[in-house]
Symmetry: C2
Subunit: 498 residues, 2 copies
Amino acid sequence: MNDWANRGQRTADYDLLLDLPAARLAAGGGARSGLEHALREAVRDGRLPPGTRLPSSRVLAGDLGLARNTVADAYAQLVAEGWLTARQGSGTTVAPRPDAAAPPPRPRRRTPSTAPGPAASAELVPDETAGLPYTLWPGSPDLASFPRAAWGAAARRALAAAPNSAFGYTDPRGRPELRAALAAYLARVRGVRTDPEHLLICTGFVQATGLLARVLYGRGARRIAVEEVGFPDTRTLLRTAGLETVPLPVDEDGARVELLDGGPQGRGTSAVLLTPAHQFPNGVRLSPGRRTAVTAWARATGGLIVEDDYDGEFRYDRQPVGALQGLAPDHVVYAGTASKSLAPGLRLAWLALPPHLMAEVVKQKRMADHHSPVLDQLTLAEFLVSGDYDRHVRRMRLRYRRRRDRLVAALAERAPRVRVSGIAAGLHAVLELPPEAGPLDTVVARARSRGLALSPHPVYGGPPDAPAALVIGYGTPPESGFGAALDLLCEVLTDTTA
Amino acid sequence: MNDWANRGQRTADYDLLLDLPAARLAAGGGARSGLEHALREAVRDGRLPPGTRLPSSRVLAGDLGLARNTVADAYAQLVAEGWLTARQGSGTTVAPRPDAAAPPPRPRRRTPSTAPGPAASAELVPDETAGLPYTLWPGSPDLASFPRAAWGAAARRALAAAPNSAFGYTDPRGRPELRAALAAYLARVRGVRTDPEHLLICTGFVQATGLLARVLYGRGARRIAVEEVGFPDTRTLLRTAGLETVPLPVDEDGARVELLDGGPQGRGTSAVLLTPAHQFPNGVRLSPGRRTAVTAWARATGGLIVEDDYDGEFRYDRQPVGALQGLAPDHVVYAGTASKSLAPGLRLAWLALPPHLMAEVVKQKRMADHHSPVLDQLTLAEFLVSGDYDRHVRRMRLRYRRRRDRLVAALAERAPRVRVSGIAAGLHAVLELPPEAGPLDTVVARARSRGLALSPHPVYGGPPDAPAALVIGYGTPPESGFGAALDLLCEVLTDTTA
């Protein structure tokens, strides 16, 4: 009965089912993303219930007048995102979604009382790139590529168009112009399911982490799971708010979220912070099975998933995997940022929030700084609406992709025993060093003595028996300095591993 | 011996003593501010010790070749700021400064342990102006007067001149360009004694309050004195950080800071937050005697004074009283903001910090949002350096002064029993209503029904037996709407009090 391929009047049904008028295809950035969008919507709203078998890509492509690869790619994308399941022999079916319709159970409130309070001793990571002429330290885009001219023009238009009221104290969520532009952008590019009312603009992801941590703590949460390797400041911020951070090991399929279910990691844990599209720093993506598992955990326990989508726009080998948030908008806080796509100096980030968290996060934001500064918000809105943002991201994607290719090729030639791990995405890669490379500290010190800042993997935590590795921020240098930085890196690694 | 007027070679000595070369007079914005600056410096560094009797204004004016009024005004200014004392019959002498040279005793640290933690129930003040066509609600400058063209031009220059590194993660204190420009501006205009290393740019005064409250709490502080009437959100923020707020009554001489010394208000109180230049909302200034008293308290106890100088640039009847911070830079945190001088939407504020607090505030700032957004910072730096800021403040000072004059004149004519209290300064005034005005709620409701938002004084706290009063934000409406708002106000008050 759910076997779609056996229905009559196939073409007409597809159109109805997938809400695929020509307009959507034309507007949505091409047939493939239009098809993906339509399929996601159909799964979400129940028109394609779990277990439904989809027609083969050949059949659907023929019916819709699309290239077969277009359909196959869309299927693969939705499998990766957890919407569909592909099994050898049984074709493509809609993935099971545990009680998707049930309202999210709210975490029990405890009386906030004897809080650990601010962890005054928490230390933040120092800047180790200062004073060195070359850097491959991760965490920053190429600042020299900031689109000054286009940004300046957008700022001028935004300043001229702003209503007087924009210069006053405004909505703690941020300017409505930006929230509207972002809601559309995030739906189109990242598959985020939100609306302007449930977006909140904040002064960088650091602030977002603090706001969420305080809200969670206020709701009685005391433990939050985090990826065992990750940005150390994030853990510091969570702990400062009184939360215990519970590490989840990270393997080739991403964080081992299944440990939340029954493992000691799950005991008393009411939230988990993940980098599903591109684990930082290990560079893997969260597997489809784990995407399903963690949303099931959230639904079953009322737990909250915080999705840090810091570089989700940069994927080089295929379409980026859509945001986890799209699978379970009531259980996921989606966090995005302009820090990688544009510049950290802007301090612009955004949260897409489940409605039940909205009021508390808004209140924390108002207590943090009332609202984020308005002029950059209005400029980013203008930048998004004008298409400047897409153009900039496309240009940078190509540039970073070339850098990654150059890095991989140079290492293959000059230090072939060094392994580049992680998916082809983002602005950084992990380099696993062979045993003969010697102590990591020596490698880093040798690079330092040549003027190159390198980040040893242990900076980001992880098990003590992890292989020696570097986290290379190939996105960091200016275009003009990348070649020299890469040469220095190869020299250092050739010295060591030759 | 300290009697200056009896020294020989008077003119030469003055030059030496006051560091008054012609250059300083020419550069410093006129003879009077040059003289004030020189006298402040001489008192500060001990060249004019406490008790020194100054020459009469006539004698000094003759010796320096200045108009007598210039010298008399400078003396009056420094008396108001607490540097000098004037007593009928005994002339002008340098004010006593209790152990100014002693290093500040540090507050005892307590172990931060069973903190009250976030006061989840704290409520912020709702916006009551929404939807009304006219508003005289205080707390906002005239947003329609934001200098869009000049700001846009400065933004363009700043964007072009910024080094690439400005777009990255930068110093949590903020951009050095802005800190340098502000240090010079604050010294010149507000008598603040600081340098770029000890300034910290933050995302509005709301954030500054939170940072300071967390630092104080982390140092073991549990009680902070505040003015009994004030902006309620500030008290909420302090309490949220775990601090008990101890109210100080406010009279015609400002907050009754002498109660810190021996009164129950002083017991266990390690900090006090004041609006010395223009009490919010009552509009009085802190008297010279109380300025001296509160700095003496800080010196004796190691207590900290937080000086909220939210509208210090706007004084209409005389030169603004210099910042309290200049009297005791090691004991005062000076807080300034662009929210009144330019626009709240910029979310730009700054702290001048005693060196011993610097590291902890920087750390809190980094945990709050790493640093404030850079582009507006660079633009404000450009705005200050180019003189645009001074020009804008001068223009607005004239405009607000005229509005205040119109308000006073209109009330004198149409509702003469209404008393306008507070000094001629800032963007708001307190209107005390005569008993026949009836219940305040009725007055406010009547204004509302005519489309005018009015703020009843009790919104800001204070004793229950205070006279019925309104806080009128004459700076809030656009220039084009001020007349109509004023007419509505007069109508409402005439209805009530006629």
